[in-house]
């Protein structure tokens, strides 16, 4: 609770003095990509869970129109020994509310995800980006209020646990509620001159999950920095760590994330 209060104060004060940004690193904003655009991402997650492990996520993003976009991901990792393709995921987001005003906007979107993974289930923590097969549905609301942008997400996660991947003695959740609160702001440039100026953004996100069956909960803090080059290419570097609660066998409670994203605007006909 103390952490949350301190963070809220930090978010509010930094937000007042800087321009808000919403290209969050660990979550998605309610805003979509521009219509008819394609984005390509490569994400590398370095996980420290007793030993060091790596997961690589190539990802393509497509926006069909101003309201509907989709992400398609592949998951490769060395978490079970040899580096291999372990699964994939399809994510779709539909923006159903958009209220723009001078210096403020409110967007809300509904999203869904369908994931597959051939990993054995080692943890109660359902992670549909690599560790589990399952579905996810949720709502994200992003608010820009003067210079402060905040985004909140609530989602329901359902894992498909087949008997062949169950390990004896490992607690397996088949459902989790996940939630997050994110904030970001622009550090540079102070004044825009042209599109080629690099932008630097700083993010702070809080990510949590709760197992409704046994009440197990955790909360992670995830600070990140971001550079945007030529207004097209985005580089993210983030670190995620657990500050409260826990779930047995968590993988991503102590991990860094490095991502490169390339955008191709208005290329789809």
């Amino acid at each position: 609770m103390k952490y949350i209060l301190i963070t809220a104060v930090l978010l509010l004060t930094t937000g007042l003095y800087s321009q808000a940004q919403e290209l969050y690193v660990f979550t998605e904003p309610a805003s979509n990509m521009a219509a008819k655009s394609i984005g390509i991402r490569v994400t590398n997650e370095g996980i420290f869970n007793g030993m060091s492990m790596n997961r690589t996520i190539p990802e393509a993003m497509l926006s069909f129109n101003k309201n509907l976009m989709t992400h398609v991901q592949g998951f490769f990792s060395d978490m079970d020994g040899k580096y291999r393709l372990e699964g994939g995921s399809v994510y779709a987001k539909y923006r159903f509310l958009s209220v723009d005003g001078t210096q403020r906007h409110l967007r809300a979107a509904a999203f869904g995800r369908l994931s597959t993974s051939k990993r054995p289930v080692y943890t109660e923590d359902i992670n549909l980006e690599g560790d589990n097969s399952g579905v996810q549905g949720g709502i994200v609301v992003t608010q820009l209020l003067h210079k402060l942008a905040l985004s909140g997400t609530v989602a329901y996660n359902k894992a498909f646990v087949s008997d062949s991947r169950k390990l004896i003695g490992i607690p397996q959740a088949d459902q989790l509620v996940s939630y997050s609160l994110s904030s970001g702001y622009l550090v540079l440039p102070v004044i825009y001159k042209n599109y080629n100026q690099p932008n630097f953004n700083v993010y702070f996100e809080m990510l949590g999950k709760t197992n409704p069956d046994n009440g197990n909960t955790y909360l992670d803090f995830a600070p990140a920095i971001q550079a945007i080059i030529n207004s097209r290419t985005r580089i993210d570097l983030g670190y995620r760590f657990q500050v409260a609660g826990d779930m047995p066998g968590r993988y991503n409670k102590n991990m860094y994330l490095l991502r490169a994203e390339f955008n191709f605007f208005n290329v789809l006909k």
Binding site: S31, A34, K193, N194, Y195, I228
Partner: protein, 178 residues
């Protein structure tokens, strides 16, 4: 009666219409909801896909795009709005520089040029000549709160829908403030 009057104006203008000459020369669009240069670039790329746009000059700090238009192609103001919405944003203000050539604004504030019907909210019974900067105040060309305020003030069904019957045909009517 109103329909009849529209018909007379429409016919008169149609008969006296000369060969197409670019009437809207420039527009300044202030885009709401933009927060980063990546969003601005996406908006600019979206605008540039319109065939009648000659150039787009962004002012990244004010989130304003200055548009210039090709001389030989008619400008579709609604398509500009659609492209900005496609990029995920909305128009806060669109002010166009329009070149009028002895264009008559009738007692109801209506003028017709090149097949476009303009309803002026603050000009009537006058002749417009030369460049005039006009703000488009239709829905989705100003903030939704400003639109609601205007709608309450104007109490006009044509303002709410942006359409009205002109010469017996449902026609797009742009509402302008000069």
């Amino acid at each position: 009666m109103k329909t009849f009057r529209y018909f007379i104006i429409f016919s008169a203008l149609f008969i006296s219409r000369i060969a197409f000459a670019q009437q809207i020369t420039k527009a300044e669009v202030q885009v709401n909801g933009l927060t980063c240069s990546m969003c601005s670039r996406a908006t600019e790329t979206s605008l540039k896909s319109l065939g009648f746009i000659a150039s787009v000059t962004p002012d990244l700090n004010r989130n304003v795009f200055v548009l210039s238009f090709k001389a030989d192609q008619p400008v579709d103001i609604d398509e500009i709005k659609d492209k900005i919405q496609d990029a995920g944003f909305s128009i806060g203000d669109l002010s166009a520089t329009m070149n009028f050539k002895n264009t008559a604004v009738d007692a109801e504030g209506i003028a017709q040029v090149d097949g476009n019907v303009y309803q002026f909210t603050n000009a009537k019974s006058k002749t417009l000549d030369g460049p005039v900067t006009a703000q488009v105040i239709d829905k989705d060309f100003i903030t939704s709160s400003a639109f609601k305020k205007k709608a309450a003030e104007l109490k006009s069904p044509a303002y709410l829908t942006g359409k009205g019957v002109v010469a017996g045909k449902e026609t797009r009517i742009f509402h302008l403030s000069i």
